[in-house]
Subunit: 247 residues, 2 copies
């Protein structure tokens, strides 16, 4: 029933446009009553995105399971993996996803609906990160309520932006190529910069020192940094930031 309604709605949107299709048109095409429609979808917009609620629920379960597991997993890896659930939902129905993408570009109401959905994904990921950073406040990862929440939101936004950049490219290409590989590549940019926050190994950056070293005859001042292998990049960044920043 749910699938049949979504299918009928989509056919009509493509035939006569989103705005000119009514809920009555959709139920007539699907051969069901008007009340059935509203049992499944709160509005006409929701038919266009029938899988987002399920996807959000799956993402939430995934993050809860990960939090409950108590594994010393990098929370940035966890939210990247959670974001992939969305990509897989799109990739599971490439034709539908591509058609919807084109429709969404043309209908302002659908674009704002999509923005709301994106924001909900972003919040779900940010909540997970916030809980993690709050729990490890004071261990030098920007925890503490103020910056933990800030870091959580910034990373969640970056993850969603990277994911959506790759997903949009794939959709624009008409669903050609490997969506999973594209999203992995994009998320790699975020992981490289923000990942590794919960590696239990410390101290990450063992030492850094300043020295004047002649390179190419110039008396440039350099920073020498010594870090244990496998150190999360962000930790190294934190360690050398102050050193590099001094003038």
């Amino acid at each position: 029933m749910r699938e049949a309604l979504a299918k009928a709605a989509f056919e009509l949107f493509l035939e006569r446009g989103f705005e000119r299709t009514t809920v009555d048109d959709i139920v007539a095409r699907a051969g069901v009553g008007r009340r059935s429609f509203f049992r499944y979808f709160p509005s006409k917009e929701d038919v266009v995105f029938p899988d987002h609620e399920g996807c959000l629920a799956e993402m939430t379960r995934y993050l809860e399971a990960s939090a409950a597991g108590g594994a010393p997993e990098d929370p940035v890896d966890t939210v990247c993996d959670a974001a992939r659930i969305v990509m897989r939902m799109y990739a599971a129905k490439p034709d539908f996803s591509v058609q919807r993408y084109r429709l969404t570009r043309e209908v302002p109401g659908l674009r704002t609906y999509e923005l709301s959905v994106v924001r909900r994904y972003e919040r779900t990921l940010a909540n997970h990160l916030r809980a993690h950073y709050a729990g490890s406040a004071g261990v030098g990862n920007g925890g503490g309520n103020g910056d933990g929440a800030l870091r959580a939101e910034v990373i969640a936004s970056a993850v969603v932006a990277a994911h959506n950049n790759a997903l949009r490219s794939w959709l624009r290409s008409g669903g050609e190529g490997d969506a999973e590989a594209a999203v992995d590549h994009a998320l790699g940019l975020v992981r490289d910069v923000w990942g590794g926050a919960s590696s239990g190994r410390a101290p990450a950056v063992a030492a850094h020192a300043h020295a004047h070293v002649g390179v190419d005859g110039e008396g440039d001042e350099v920073v020498i940094m010594v870090a244990r292998k496998g150190t999360p990049v962000w930790r190294v960044v934190q360690g050398i930031e102050s050193a590099l920043g001094e003038s």
Copy 2:
């Protein structure tokens, strides 16, 4: 006229709620005709955010002037400065901003309107970064069309998320404290990680080497990295990433 309409609208929204206020109510309170309203505002939602169009225009001018200047400025600094224009718009009218924030929390239609505005700021910033990264493709900053666009979107999202995190805290506090300082602090997190991309100094990371060094009696393998002072952090990250990542 414009201000008078916005003021009247706002009074009514606070008195009887957004949904229960009509455009007719607003023009009656302001003592003007209905057509005047639509001359200034496309919809009731727009009255709530009367300054965003002007702010977007100012941001665009700022970015264009910066691009035209051709200065070897860090584009991440430029977009952070551009984002501050939004914060200053809010901070210029603290009472109005705080009231609007509370109203927006309660009215779903206003929240989605706000999401659209935020997305427009994000795009404006991303376009600036994209143009910059396209122009400097191949110099090792993730330029090249594919990753340049990706990096541009990720950084723009991170800038907006950091800006909004600080702005929201300020609004939630009822407009207490220094909005500018809070936003600066939040943007600092993004600058630290992503900033410095166009510093002309090269090579940033002069060398890195692996060594086995005994620390506390352990034979830990460490990475030694030598970087010139003032090196952008992201460049150092790029330089050490591969070294740290090897296992």
